[in-house]
Symmetry: C2
Subunit: 134 residues, 2 copies
């Protein structure tokens, strides 16, 4: 795991480019398998908290507040390595996802696919969502 002290985290967060709403897209990829789990958004505060704590924290656009991944479901994401792109406007985090990343109870959010000329659901629900958010 590669965390930063608060000052270094603030410096890095300030270096990134955010959209007009103050947000930057962040992709989470399972470190050992390479599975892309999800994409969500971060504001400066979420970037700093993630870098300092080593636990992934997003910004929830629907709830308009910090979203410590797993805070309700227990399905936390621990940061393995924080990366960002050439334009400094997109984050890629190598993570270790406990349980499932998707609120539907699937391991990852990208379970819709085009196969054989039509839309298919390509992964199964592993945990009943009612059990995740009870």
């Amino acid at each position: 795991m590669s965390t930063l002290d608060a000052k270094s985290a603030q410096d890095l967060a300030a270096r990134l480019t955010y959209n007009q709403a103050g947000l930057i897209p962040a992709i989470a990829q399972q470190a050992d398998t390479g599975e892309v789990l999800m994409m969500a958004w971060m504001n400066v505060e979420a970037v700093v908290e993630t870098l300092v704590s080593g636990r992934v924290c997003y910004y929830s656009r629907s709830r308009s507040k910090l979203w410590r991944k797993g805070e309700r479901s227990g399905q936390v994401q621990m940061l393995n390595e924080f990366r960002w792109d050439c334009d400094e406007d997109t984050i890629l985090m190598m993570v270790d996802q406990k349980g499932v990343a998707c609120h539907t109870g699937r391991r990852n959010c990208f379970y819709n696919a085009v196969r054989n000329g039509t839309s298919e659901i390509i992964s199964d629900v592993e945990i009943n969502p009612d059990d995740l958010y009870s």
Copy 2:
């Protein structure tokens, strides 16, 4: 490769959710290695073209027009499988990237990382950008 006819592609593109600028984020992942190459944006037209042609087409925000990946550099992205997420507002494409995905000449765009408490560049330039855009 899993392409669609024009009508099916239009139906799928219409089902997705776009932001206020009419764009949806699209992540490209190398199909065989799992390497996350880049994230860029698509509009409805780019989604349809990608699904029908099997060659990835983005929407360039800086140039305000369709961007057929590799049209200048030759570094094309062929679509292997088109996926999208639970909220239907993010695309994940399994692709086969010819050469390098990044305009800096690196294989992927996410070459900045936090390691050992500081920022590091973790991948090398494979093709001189002057040769990519000459």
